[in-house]
């Protein structure tokens, strides 16, 4: 097992810089998830850690050893790819054993190791099958098996679940998490799916345009997003963001949004963005009080079973709010939405950074 240290890491493709000098320390045994939209540099960073992409500047150390110039096979890592990359011309057993290509073990020892890994992943009855005879989830398990068999210092996962259907994805998510709890090996996992990031990670690294925006535990990012992008990216459904005016006076401010002015205990710039998660913006009962109250008209109702979300035209846009699962408001009806001050996140309208 080993930690990873990334220092001032830069990647350029010709004149285009795609990773802009990022720094990150990953602890030994930590499960770190890189998350961000397509083209944010998360996969490129992972591939640089793997040694599949050249580094233009900066250093990557694995287990305290700088690996910039080392071949992938010399880095003691294992990688699971988005398309599984299990060899179609080999059986499951041969695929898993391929992870031991450079191990120097004899045939019997390899077989024993393959059987152990297959047992852990529930692949024992499938060992002689070809990949074409496996389901998507089974293929992904084989890919994980090939990575596991080598007992590497670091596991790298490059969007490994994105080709699976929703149900299988949830199941594999659980399996990967249990695997990490069992093996305790450092894992770096890349995804564009914030649900995967939230459910799997010890720490999430939010990336955008080749920069790291925020690093933190899932709930830390959820509760205290550093900027509007992270606020909207983490959490489902997406956070509502509303522009508002603030008047600062003697170290305090008054926010002007909604039915009544809202007192804020700190000085704020004049233009702010107010963020509120749909779970914290509720449809109010008649006469119910709240710190922030917005009036609007219900445009769409989305019953989800245990809860119902309503899209409400209010505050100059379409806001998503939660409503009682039973008896939600009807489409077209006038409603009042309310949120507690503690549920509001404030951002500077210019920089979009948290205030």
């Amino acid at each position: 097992m080993a930690g990873i240290a990334i220092e001032r890491l830069v990647k350029r493709y010709g004149p285009t810089q795609v990773v802009h000098g990022i720094d990150l320390d990953i602890q030994d045994g930590e499960f770190v998830v890189f998350v961000g939209p397509s083209g944010c540099g998360k996969s490129t960073t992972l591939r640089m850690v793997a040694g599949l992409e050249e580094i233009n500047d900066g250093t990557i150390s694995i287990g305290g050893r700088v690996v910039n110039r080392l071949e992938p096979k010399e880095r003691n890592i294992a990688m699971v790819f988005q398309n599984y990359a299990i060899y179609p011309h080999m059986s499951v057993a041969e695929n898993i054993a391929f992870g031991l290509y450079t191990s120097g073990l004899d045939k019997a020892a390899k077989r024993k190791r393959v059987e152990e890994v297959a047992e852990v992943l529930g692949l024992t009855p499938l060992l002689e099958r070809r990949p074409s005879a496996l389901s998507g989830g089974q293929r992904q398990r084989v890919a994980i098996g090939r990575a596991m068999v080598r007992d590497p210092a670091v596991f790298l996962f490059d969007e490994p679940l994105s080709n699976l259907d929703a149900q299988l994805r949830a199941q594999m998510r659980l399996e990967i998490k249990r695997l990490h709890q069992r093996l305790g090996t450092t894992i770096v996992f890349v995804t564009h799916d914030q649900v995967e990031a939230m459910t799997l990670a010890d720490r999430i690294v939010v990336m955008r345009d080749g920069h790291i925006l925020q690093v933190g535990a899932p709930m830390e990012l959820y509760e205290k997003p550093a900027d509007v992008f992270t606020a909207r990216f983490i959490g489902s459904p997406t956070m509502n963001i509303m522009p508002a005016k603030a008047v600062a006076e003697a170290g305090r401010s008054t926010l002007r949004l909604g039915e009544a002015p809202l007192a804020w205990p700190t000085a704020l710039p004049s233009d702010v963005l107010i963020g509120v998660r749909p779970q914290e913006l509720r449809v109010l009962d008649q006469g119910e009080a709240a710190d922030l109250i917005l009036s609007g008209t219900v445009a769409v109702v989305e019953p989800l079973g245990p809860e119902t979300f309503v899209h409400v035209e209010a505050a100059g846009g379409l806001l998503l709010a939660s409503a009682p699962a039973k008896n939600p408001p009807a489409v077209g009806s006038a409603v009042q939405l309310g949120a507690a001050a503690s549920g509001l996140r404030l951002f500077d309208a210019q920089s979009e950074r948290a205030l």
Partner: protein, 280 residues
């Protein structure tokens, strides 16, 4: 009937009948000379110019004559050996170059590819003289190597393999790199098995074209013991007399390996032709 009946109405569509007739006509056109060749090989020399399709008195005499002629077996072995060696060489080198062009980024890659591709525009007839001069200068005239060297690697094969290797996802190669394979092992153990259909098509076409090659082996060889089968068969046609029954028997025997290859590898050939977008 079901093949040419409309699945909806059950009626036979005129378009389908036309297709079926055209295919039947085309098939007949292909099979008739082959059948005539086999029929002629069973004829006595006195029947050759009767032009009857079937022999009046079928005999295997011609097969006995040809097979007991030591030269025929030698030519057969020459053709087989040469076609096999050239095929193996093509399968290896065309794949290696195709793989390099498809999967590695290096300066001048496009130029190399265009240079290889441009040789496809030059007809064989124009290449024969430079080949001959080259063979003469290197002392390869009248040798097996002289027959084989122009075909040991082909632009077509390289192009075909490059196109196929481009369809192999890079993830496979990168996974192998992470697993610790060196670049040749990645090519040999991972990439090559993934393009088996293209490889089969290349092998089959290369073998067949070398098995039937005539012009170059005729030019480069003078010793009869080095003749390939198609060249050797011309020995049965001498000025005074053309022994059609023996030529047809030799030709019939010459088709046996190709027919065997076809029957054994039919699946791969059809798939290879479809995949390669070739017209056969």
């Amino acid at each position: 009937m079901s093949a040419i009946a409309s699945p909806v109405s059950g009626r036979i569509e005129p378009g389908r009948i036309l297709t079926w007739l055209l295919l039947f006509g085309g098939g007949l056109l292909m099979v008739t000379p082959l059948a005539f060749m086999f029929a002629t090989s069973l004829k006595d020399s006195s029947e050759i110019y009767d032009l009857a399709f079937f022999p009046a008195h079928p005999t295997l005499e011609n097969y006995v004559t040809v097979l007991s002629d030591g030269r025929f077996l030698r030519w057969f072995a020459n053709s087989f050996g040469i076609a096999t060696a050239v095929t193996l060489s093509n399968v290896f080198f065309d794949s290696l170059v195709g793989y390099t062009l498809a999967k590695f980024q290096f300066r001048g890659r496009y130029l190399v590819f265009v240079a290889i591709l441009s040789t496809l525009m030059i007809p064989t007839e124009m290449l024969v003289i430079p080949w001959y001069v080259m063979a003469k200068n290197f002392g390869w005239l009248d040798s097996y190597w002289g027959i084989m060297f122009p075909g040991m690697m082909t632009a077509f094969g390289t192009f075909l393999m490059k196109q196929f290797f481009e369809t192999v996802p890079n993830d496979f190669l990168e996974a192998a790199r992470v697993d610790g394979l060196n670049e040749f092992a990645i090519f040999w153990r991972i990439a090559l098995p993934l393009v088996t259909p293209a490889l089969s098509a290349l092998a089959i076409f290369t073998f067949l074209s070398n098995w039937t090659a005539f012009i170059w082996p005729l030019i480069v060889t003078t010793s009869k013991e080095l003749y390939t089968l198609p060249v050797g068969l011309t020995s049965y046609a001498v000025e005074a007399q053309v022994q059609w029954e023996l030529i047809m028997t030799g030709a019939a025997l010459a088709t046996l390996p190709t027919l065997t290859v076809f029957l054994l590898l039919q699946r791969y050939i059809v798939r290879g032709v479809v995949l390669a977008g070739l017209k056969g």
